[in-house]
């Protein structure tokens, strides 16, 4: 993976795309002046920032972002939820995995507008106060990480897998977690943690 982003995007560019909401006035958003066919269609959104609501970890959050902003952009840059990580930015590594409507997805490959009206869960929403989610506890117990960068994505994929398949086979765990890469190759610990979390439930 190249160190430099091929598109030369900087953090500053990201902030202009997703700018945090500073005033309620922004909430109204801007809609394109154009209408659909013959002026009767729906209003277009953007290309400037538009205001809308995302339901994240059980809370409605107001955001303002351009239509081109990904869910990952908005979570990290507008909502300060930095658990989901940006690494490959092409839906190949899994570090940005979040759960939308009960399904694991790559937040880097979903536009934030696509997540409107859906229940979004990130790693920040797993624990109850100081009590870790059983999957988080199992990752610690079984050393399911080394550097930890991919861990939020691994944890979210494991949570999604076990909610769908409470008692997966070892092959089912591997297949279920195949969309998450660990560059430290802590896979044996990750798979053990997933198996242990399944038993703990």
């Amino acid at each position: 993976m190249p160190a430099d982003r091929p598109d030369g995007i900087s953090r500053r560019d990201f902030l202009t795309v997703t700018g945090a909401l500073t005033g309620a006035g922004l909430l109204a958003g801007k809609s394109s002046a154009e209408d659909g066919a013959k002026g009767k269609g729906p209003a277009g959104l953007g290309p400037e920032a538009v205001g809308y609501t995302l339901r994240v970890n059980g809370e409605d959050r107001a955001v303002s972002a351009e239509p081109r902003a990904t869910l990952l952009d908005v979570l990290r840059n507008s909502l300060d939820l930095t658990g989901a990580k940006s690494a490959c930015d092409r839906g190949e590594c899994g570090a940005c995995t979040v759960i939308v409507e009960g399904r694991s997805v790559y937040a880097c490959m979903m536009l934030a507008l696509q997540a409107r009206g859906k229940e979004i869960r990130t790693v920040e929403g797993l624990s109850r106060g100081d009590t870790l989610h059983p999957v988080q506890a199992a990752f610690i117990e079984h050393d399911g990480y080394q550097c930890g960068f991919c861990t939020p994505g691994q944890v979210m994929s494991t949570v999604a897998l076990l909610e769908k398949t409470p008692s997966p086979s070892p092959e089912g765990i591997r297949a279920g977690l195949c969309g998450n890469i660990c560059r430290c190759a802590a896979y044996s610990g990750i798979f053990e943690a997933a198996a242990a979390a399944a038993k703990a439930k």
Binding site: P6, L45, R68, G91
Partner: protein, 322 residues
């Protein structure tokens, strides 16, 4: 970075078609493939029309003609549909073979069929190539390890879809909609070789999009075998979709279609002929050899010829009585 665009939530298929008549408009379903192209800067639509906002366009239903699957049906739902899997096992297997859980959870059938090739010269804004409207094919003298062994030239991409070869084998029909109305065609006619259409692998008119896929249930036996360099997830290095009807020890009807080896899903007519003239057990060797009839390797991809043969043999062997 991604070109700025205006977003439109279509409320009906007709409305989507009208919106797509705008200059610079593109349809988005799951969006995984298109977003990749936007991020690479090789596509810069001014308008994106959301098809997932059309109610019912994701329906999976049994009709009197077979199964009708809406274009925005999620791949994971196709793979998990028990009744569909029973009727069309190969289709469920092909949906299950796509990428990773995350991509199957977002990707849709329509998007899978209309996804663009993965050739890295095509996917990079830094390379000029004929498929992007430029000149020549840098892969001919460059990196072509994963590219076409059949049907290539003047562009050598392989079609990346897992579901497309299976749907060709099953004899599916595509229902398209556009600003000028609706039409339908056999899925095999949807795909075009680069020698005919270098810019796109399929024949959608401006503003047209896939609305649904209809799959007959006439071929009860089907399977999809996908061989890849990295088994955890990858595009196919070679794949084989087979659908047919078996009577005792032989096929009475069969289609064999290769994936990952040609710019379009590649129907292996010579294999089918072999399968129709002897028992399955006797036909496996000649049918798998015949599947790569006319294959021609580029400088780095000769390995894919025996691999494609193996995919066919493996798919056919799965129909032998155990």
């Amino acid at each position: 970075m991604t070109h700025p665009f205006t977003w439109w939530d279509a409320r009906t298929a007709e409305e989507a078609a009208a919106l797509l008549a705008k200059k610079g408009a593109m349809a988005l379903s799951g969006g995984v493939d298109l977003l990749g192209e936007l991020k690479e800067g090789i596509r810069s639509p001014d308008h994106i029309v959301n098809l997932r906002s059309v109610p019912g366009l994701d329906r999976i239903e049994r009709t009197d003609r077979g199964w009708r699957i809406g274009a925005t049906a999620i791949l994971a739902d196709i793979a998990a549909h028990a009744e569909l899997r029973k009727a069309l096992p190969g289709l469920a297997e092909s949906a299950d073979a796509v990428a990773t859980p995350q991509i199957r959870n977002q990707g849709t059938l329509g998007g899978n069929l209309a996804q663009r090739p993965r050739c890295w010269y095509y996917r990079s804004a830094d390379f000029e190539c004929a498929k992007k409207g430029g000149k020549g094919c840098p892969a001919e003298e460059g990196e072509n390890r994963y590219l076409a062994i059949l049907g290539g030239g003047p562009c050598h991409i392989v079609h990346p879809s897992d579901c497309a070869p299976m749907l060709v084998a099953l004899g599916a029909r595509l229902f398209l909609r556009g600003p000028d109305g609706a039409r339908d065609l056999p899925i095999a006619d949807f795909y075009e070789l680069p020698s005919k259409n270098i810019l796109c692998e399929y024949t959608l008119k401006p503003g047209e999009f896939i609305e649904a896929v209809e799959v007959p249930v006439a071929l009860p036996r089907s399977t999809y075998v996908k061989l890849r360099e990295k088994d955890s997830f990858d595009f196919a290095a070679a794949a084989c979709a087979v659908a047919g009807k078996i009577d005792g020890d032989h096929f009475t009807e069969v289609r064999v279609v290769l994936g990952g080896v040609a710019p379009i899903p590649w129907r292996a007519g010579a294999s089918e002929a072999n399968l129709m003239k002897s028992t399955l057990a006797d036909a496996i060797e000649p049918a798998s050899t015949a599947a790569v009839d006319g294959a021609r390797a580029l400088s780095q991809n000769e390995w894919k010829i025996p691999l494609a043969k193996a995919a066919v043999a493996r798919a056919l062997r799965s129909f032998l009585p155990r």
